[in-house]
Amino acid sequence: MGAEVLIEIRQQRFDPWQELARYQNESGLLPGSYGACATFVGAMRDFNQGENVREMVLEHYAGMTEKLLIDHAEALALRHDLLELLILHRVGRILPNDSIVLVAAWSAHREAALDACRGMMEYLKSQATFWKKETLVDSADSVRQRWVDNVSG
Protein backbone atom coordinates (compact mmCIF):
# COMPACT_ATOMS: atom_id res chain seq x y z
CA MET A 1 0.00 0.00 0.00
CA GLY A 2 1.55 3.26 -1.08
CA ALA A 3 -1.51 5.38 -0.38
CA GLU A 4 -0.78 8.89 0.78
CA VAL A 5 -3.24 10.41 3.21
CA LEU A 6 -3.38 14.13 3.91
CA ILE A 7 -5.57 15.52 6.68
CA GLU A 8 -5.77 19.23 7.34
CA ILE A 9 -7.96 21.18 9.75
CA ARG A 10 -7.84 24.81 8.69
CA GLN A 11 -9.00 28.13 10.17
CA GLN A 12 -8.70 30.02 6.87
CA ARG A 13 -11.17 30.00 4.00
CA PHE A 14 -10.25 27.83 1.05
CA ASP A 15 -11.26 27.38 -2.58
CA PRO A 16 -11.81 23.65 -3.14
CA TRP A 17 -10.93 23.67 -6.86
CA GLN A 18 -7.69 25.53 -6.27
CA GLU A 19 -6.81 23.13 -3.47
CA LEU A 20 -7.49 20.14 -5.72
CA ALA A 21 -5.41 21.54 -8.55
CA ARG A 22 -2.55 22.28 -6.21
CA TYR A 23 -2.74 19.00 -4.33
CA GLN A 24 -2.92 16.88 -7.45
CA ASN A 25 0.06 18.76 -8.82
CA GLU A 26 2.22 18.51 -5.73
CA SER A 27 1.25 15.02 -4.63
CA GLY A 28 3.10 11.85 -5.46
CA LEU A 29 0.37 10.81 -7.94
CA LEU A 30 2.10 9.49 -11.02
CA PRO A 31 0.64 10.68 -14.33
CA GLY A 32 -1.38 7.85 -15.85
CA SER A 33 -1.62 5.95 -12.55
CA TYR A 34 -5.14 6.90 -11.50
CA GLY A 35 -8.32 6.34 -13.43
CA ALA A 36 -10.69 7.97 -10.99
CA CYS A 37 -10.98 10.86 -8.58
CA ALA A 38 -14.15 11.28 -6.54
CA THR A 39 -14.56 14.45 -4.54
CA PHE A 40 -17.06 15.99 -2.19
CA VAL A 41 -17.31 19.62 -1.20
CA GLY A 42 -19.58 20.64 1.67
CA ALA A 43 -20.46 24.32 1.71
CA MET A 44 -22.33 26.51 4.16
CA ARG A 45 -25.88 27.29 3.22
CA ASP A 46 -27.69 30.44 4.28
CA PHE A 47 -30.64 28.34 5.44
CA ASN A 48 -31.01 25.24 7.59
CA GLN A 49 -34.05 23.44 8.95
CA GLY A 50 -36.27 26.27 7.79
CA GLU A 51 -34.25 29.12 9.31
CA ASN A 52 -32.02 31.81 7.86
CA VAL A 53 -28.43 31.38 8.95
CA ARG A 54 -26.08 34.35 9.13
CA GLU A 55 -22.90 32.59 10.26
CA MET A 56 -21.61 29.53 12.01
CA VAL A 57 -18.84 28.65 14.41
CA LEU A 58 -17.26 25.25 13.90
CA GLU A 59 -15.55 23.86 16.98
CA HIS A 60 -13.53 20.66 17.18
CA TYR A 61 -11.55 18.53 19.61
CA ALA A 62 -8.02 19.27 18.41
CA GLY A 63 -5.88 16.19 18.56
CA MET A 64 -8.77 13.73 18.69
CA THR A 65 -10.22 14.86 15.36
CA GLU A 66 -6.95 14.41 13.50
CA LYS A 67 -6.37 11.01 15.14
CA LEU A 68 -9.84 9.77 14.18
CA LEU A 69 -9.52 11.05 10.63
CA ILE A 70 -6.07 9.62 10.01
CA ASP A 71 -7.10 6.19 11.35
CA HIS A 72 -10.26 6.12 9.25
CA ALA A 73 -8.54 7.49 6.16
CA GLU A 74 -5.88 4.79 6.36
CA ALA A 75 -8.52 2.11 6.78
CA LEU A 76 -10.43 3.42 3.73
CA ALA A 77 -7.25 3.70 1.68
CA LEU A 78 -6.44 0.07 2.41
CA ARG A 79 -9.98 -1.22 1.90
CA HIS A 80 -10.47 0.59 -1.42
CA ASP A 81 -6.87 0.36 -2.65
CA LEU A 82 -6.61 4.14 -2.94
CA LEU A 83 -3.65 6.03 -4.34
CA GLU A 84 -4.34 9.25 -2.44
CA LEU A 85 -6.89 10.57 0.02
CA LEU A 86 -7.22 14.24 0.90
CA ILE A 87 -9.37 15.69 3.67
CA LEU A 88 -9.50 19.42 4.32
CA HIS A 89 -11.90 20.72 6.98
CA ARG A 90 -12.62 24.27 8.10
CA VAL A 91 -13.01 25.29 11.72
CA GLY A 92 -13.70 28.64 13.33
CA ARG A 93 -16.08 31.32 12.06
CA ILE A 94 -17.72 30.40 8.77
CA LEU A 95 -19.96 32.44 6.49
CA PRO A 96 -22.60 31.30 4.00
CA ASN A 97 -21.08 30.03 0.73
CA ASP A 98 -17.78 29.17 2.43
CA SER A 99 -16.51 25.67 1.81
CA ILE A 100 -16.58 23.61 5.00
CA VAL A 101 -15.09 20.33 3.90
CA LEU A 102 -13.27 18.87 0.91
CA VAL A 103 -12.73 15.14 0.51
CA ALA A 104 -10.96 13.71 -2.54
CA ALA A 105 -10.11 10.07 -3.23
CA TRP A 106 -7.87 8.96 -6.10
CA SER A 107 -7.86 5.37 -7.25
CA ALA A 108 -7.25 3.22 -10.29
CA HIS A 109 -10.96 2.36 -10.26
CA ARG A 110 -14.20 4.28 -10.26
CA GLU A 111 -16.14 2.35 -7.61
CA ALA A 112 -13.23 2.47 -5.17
CA ALA A 113 -12.94 6.25 -5.43
CA LEU A 114 -16.69 6.83 -5.11
CA ASP A 115 -17.05 4.44 -2.16
CA ALA A 116 -14.10 5.93 -0.30
CA CYS A 117 -15.35 9.49 -0.78
CA ARG A 118 -18.80 8.61 0.51
CA GLY A 119 -17.34 6.55 3.35
CA MET A 120 -15.24 9.47 4.55
CA MET A 121 -18.21 11.86 4.42
CA GLU A 122 -20.32 9.44 6.46
CA TYR A 123 -17.53 9.15 9.00
CA LEU A 124 -17.14 12.94 9.21
CA LYS A 125 -20.85 13.34 9.87
CA SER A 126 -21.19 10.59 12.45
CA GLN A 127 -17.83 10.17 14.20
CA ALA A 128 -15.45 13.09 13.72
CA THR A 129 -15.39 15.44 16.71
CA PHE A 130 -16.79 18.64 15.20
CA TRP A 131 -19.70 20.74 16.48
CA LYS A 132 -21.53 23.57 14.76
CA LYS A 133 -23.21 26.57 16.31
CA GLU A 134 -25.36 28.64 13.98
CA THR A 135 -26.34 32.28 14.30
CA LEU A 136 -29.91 32.60 13.05
CA VAL A 137 -31.74 35.71 11.95
CA ASP A 138 -35.52 35.84 12.02
CA SER A 139 -37.81 38.09 10.05
CA ALA A 140 -37.72 40.85 12.68
CA ASP A 141 -33.93 40.86 12.39
CA SER A 142 -33.52 39.46 15.86
CA VAL A 143 -30.62 37.13 16.28
CA ARG A 144 -30.23 33.87 18.20
CA GLN A 145 -27.84 30.97 18.30
CA ARG A 146 -28.30 27.22 18.29
CA TRP A 147 -26.16 24.11 18.22
CA VAL A 148 -26.83 22.10 15.09
CA ASP A 149 -28.20 18.61 15.66
CA ASN A 150 -26.70 15.81 13.72
CA VAL A 151 -29.30 15.33 11.04
CA SER A 152 -28.93 14.19 7.46
CA GLY A 153 -27.75 16.91 5.21
Binding site: M64, M121, Q127, F130, W131, K132
Partner: protein
Protein backbone atom coordinates in the same frame (compact mmCIF):
# COMPACT_ATOMS: atom_id res chain seq x y z
CA UNK B 1 -4.68 10.61 41.15
CA UNK B 2 -5.30 13.56 38.84
CA UNK B 3 -7.23 13.63 35.57
CA UNK B 4 -7.93 16.40 33.09
CA UNK B 5 -11.54 17.03 32.13
CA UNK B 6 -12.35 18.61 28.76
CA UNK B 7 -15.78 19.73 27.59
CA UNK B 8 -17.11 20.74 24.18
CA UNK B 9 -20.04 22.49 22.52
CA UNK B 10 -23.23 22.67 24.60
CA UNK B 11 -21.69 20.93 27.62
CA UNK B 12 -18.84 23.41 27.67
CA UNK B 13 -21.38 26.23 27.82
CA UNK B 14 -23.49 24.53 30.52
CA UNK B 15 -20.57 23.59 32.74
CA UNK B 16 -18.79 26.90 32.28
CA UNK B 17 -15.30 25.52 31.66
CA UNK B 18 -13.47 23.85 28.81
CA UNK B 19 -10.62 22.27 30.73
CA UNK B 20 -9.97 21.51 34.37
CA UNK B 21 -7.78 19.20 36.42
CA UNK B 22 -9.47 17.26 39.20
CA UNK B 23 -8.11 15.17 42.01
CA UNK B 24 -9.61 11.71 42.53
CA UNK B 25 -8.94 10.00 45.88
CA UNK B 26 -9.76 6.57 44.37
CA UNK B 27 -10.33 5.03 40.90
CA UNK B 28 -13.76 5.79 39.45
CA UNK B 29 -15.57 5.46 36.12
CA UNK B 30 -16.04 8.13 33.46
CA UNK B 31 -19.63 8.45 34.68
CA UNK B 32 -18.28 9.08 38.18
CA UNK B 33 -16.17 11.92 36.79
CA UNK B 34 -19.30 13.45 35.23
CA UNK B 35 -21.05 13.34 38.62
CA UNK B 36 -18.17 15.24 40.16
CA UNK B 37 -18.28 18.09 37.68
CA UNK B 38 -22.01 18.41 37.01
CA UNK B 39 -25.08 18.93 39.13
CA UNK B 40 -27.42 17.62 36.44
CA UNK B 41 -28.36 14.00 35.73
CA UNK B 42 -26.49 12.12 33.09
CA UNK B 43 -27.67 13.66 29.77
CA UNK B 44 -29.06 11.13 27.29
CA UNK B 45 -26.90 12.60 24.54
CA UNK B 46 -23.62 12.53 26.48
CA UNK B 47 -20.63 11.11 24.61
CA UNK B 48 -17.17 10.75 26.06
CA UNK B 49 -13.59 10.08 25.14
CA UNK B 50 -10.62 9.01 27.23
CA UNK B 51 -7.22 10.10 25.94
CA UNK B 52 -8.79 11.17 22.63
CA UNK B 53 -10.50 7.84 21.97
CA UNK B 54 -14.21 7.21 22.22
CA UNK B 55 -14.98 5.43 25.50
CA UNK B 56 -17.97 4.01 27.34
CA UNK B 57 -19.24 5.67 30.51
CA UNK B 58 -18.36 2.65 32.64
CA UNK B 59 -14.67 2.80 31.71
CA UNK B 60 -12.37 3.21 34.72
CA UNK B 61 -10.15 6.25 34.52
CA UNK B 62 -6.43 6.19 35.33
CA UNK B 63 -3.98 8.75 36.65
CA UNK B 64 -3.14 11.33 34.00
CA UNK B 65 -6.11 10.52 31.75
CA UNK B 66 -7.78 13.20 29.68
CA UNK B 67 -11.55 12.72 29.96
CA UNK B 68 -13.70 14.59 27.42
CA UNK B 69 -17.48 15.10 27.46
CA UNK B 70 -19.41 16.22 24.39
CA UNK B 71 -22.74 15.94 22.57
CA UNK B 72 -23.23 14.02 19.29
CA UNK B 73 -20.78 15.21 16.68
CA UNK B 74 -21.56 16.90 13.42
CA UNK B 75 -18.68 17.28 10.96
CA UNK B 76 -18.63 17.52 7.18
Amino acid sequence: MVVTVRTFAGFREELGFDRKSIYLPKPITVEGVWELISESDLPVNLLCAVNKEYALLDKMVADGDEIAFFPPVNGG
